[in-house]
Symmetry: C2
Subunit: 340 residues, 2 copies
């Protein structure tokens, strides 16, 4: 009886109960083939199911049976980034903490290939989850389309695809990048560059925009090294490129702490001291920040809090509450340590 629904909005047990003029418990007994339902109630409920187009799914069945429901947590990352991203673990645990408190089972779904994308889209269509939290959505993503089509309660961590009506929880990457770059400028650095990563995503593009904002007239496009991912390895490559373009570079904004750690490695190999010769700032305040030598000055990204708020947003939708249309932005304090 689980089918892939094509309706815009799923009918619920509640709709059936209202239509048939009976309690949800009675509908539940019919749906679950339990005894003690009068023939007339059964007939009315069957007619109501037909009329409102109710399709039982596991989640609905769980609801009426008062068993735990499930919310999907979708990590949409290329292989290497899933291993490297220090925020995902925090977001995941934050979301799980809030969902667990409301007896929801969080099921985390990894997307690592086109095949994964297609299969996860089918899984969402199949009614295995009541809602979804999505980390790192992409534009023109079949997952996003399925969520919009099914009207699944959902929240994005980070900006959702453009023109998506779906709510999100995030940080202001542009303002945060501007603030840390300004702070770096205040230390007296003269030749400031950036290792800019993940420019195909809002977070990456916004961090570069904030850097550009802060430097204003002093912005030198030659001192931006563009790398694909927020990774240590890309940090090494990006820093090597900057050193080649300007051996006298004395300040660097790395697009993430992992990128900053890679940049530190490249500077060490090149015989430059940090912060003596070059000041470096990162982004995330992840576990990387205290493991580099020197410890990183960086932007604190509230990973656990992002997961908590995204879960609260999905639970709110499941309870039928209105959600803010324009997203929730969390604070991102600057943490100043020793690398700049």
């Amino acid at each position: 009886m689980v089918t892939i629904p094509s309706r815009r909005k799923r009918a619920t047990i509640h709709d059936v109960a209202v239509e048939a003029g009976v309690s949800r418990g009675t509908v539940s007994r019919v749906v679950n083939d339990e005894p003690y339902v009068s023939a007339s109630a059964r007939t009315a409920i069957e007619a109501a199911i037909e009329k409102v187009g109710y399709v039982p799914n596991n989640a609905a069945r769980s609801l009426v049976m008062q068993r735990s429901e499930a919310v999907g947590f979708i990590v949409h990352e290329p292989h290497s980034l899933f291993l490297d991203d220090p925020n995902i673990g925090g977001i995941l645990l934050g979301a799980n903490t809030v969902l667990s408190r409301s007896d929801y089972q969080m099921v985390s779904l990894v997307i690592d290939s086109q095949r994964d994308t297609d299969r996860v889209a089918r899984y969402l269509s199949g009614g295995f989850v009541d809602g979804v939290i999505i980390v790192s959505a992409r534009r023109e993503d079949p997952i996003t389309r399925v969520i919009e089509k099914l009207r699944l309660p959902a929240a994005f961590v980070g900006h959702p695809p453009e023109q998506s009506p779906l709510p999100f929880v995030g940080i202001d990457n542009r303002a945060s990048a501007r603030a840390i770059t300004e702070r770096l400028m205040q230390t007296g650095r003269q030749r400031i560059g950036m290792v800019a990563a993940a420019l195909d995503r809002d977070s990456g593009a916004d961090r570069l925009a904030g850097f550009t904002d802060a430097l204003g007239d002093r912005f030198n496009p030659a001192l931006v090294a563009r790398v694909p991912l927020y990774t240590f390895t890309d940090g090494v490559k990006g820093m090597c490129a900057l050193l080649e373009r300007d051996p006298l570079i004395d300040g660097v904004f790395a697009a993430s702490d992992a990128v900053a750690a890679g940049a530190l490695e490249a500077l060490r190999h090149a015989g430059r001291s940090v912060p003596g010769d070059v000041g470096i700032v990162g982004f995330d305040d992840s576990s990387w920040a205290l493991r580099t030598q020197p410890h990183l000055s960086t932007v604190h990204q509230p990973a656990f809090g992002l997961g908590e708020r995204a879960a609260e947003c999905v639970l709110g939708q499941l309870r039928g509450e209105e959600q803010p249309a324009d997203g929730i932005l969390l604070e991102t304090p600057i943490i100043w340590r020793d690398s700049a």
Copy 2:
């Protein structure tokens, strides 16, 4: 119609089909309330369902509808370790790669509290997954009991609880620890200690046993610092304890690369050079190993391969194939770099 089964072995669509003398497809049509089934076939199937005690679940329904099925991936770790453990990501991606190839949806379930444990046990009982991969099982774990009770196809990564009949994929921690300690001894170190972590788990206990084996008569119990977790922070603490007990210590086996990285930090603070004053070896060959200064000599743990083999083991059980009763151990080459 989803109920928590108390039967030792779940009846399948196949059992119903055999009992009713019809095809699985016909059973599927009845179970899914589809048309084009004769009244006599329907009656026979309903009687067969009653007789064999068949309880439809999502997975079975997915199977007959030729939609993707699901396999659970259970990470049973305390909070901080989930964030720190560099192997989990590799195991997860390895398992996902194999399951995806067979069109199985991997659903990852985080266990971070007693509430999580109880709810995940209910989730498994509810038929939401066809099989389970478990990382870091604990003794007397309700999850393990549920899996055994339901006879869910399962594979452990790492040793399963004692006397469990369930198959596992792992490494020989004791032999690997012995091998890397012997290699460290061959560099001429005289006062060799260990930062031993996670002694409540087989992996932790086995690594200490291998260290003890290698040193033989030279083993000095005072030079073992015991710490709770395989983390950077515990590595710092453990190394500080060892330096207090023997300021002349010149060799250290750290129970993981993260622990080794923490130990390096403690030695740096204490003004000791590595490998000049102290040689250090780690365990895992994780992303940590190339991010420390100097890079770590360590035991390579094939995280991705462990995930792949565990998934293959579960898929084999789902196909009804016999699995090896005594577990699968993967190779763990020693990777010698600069820290010893």
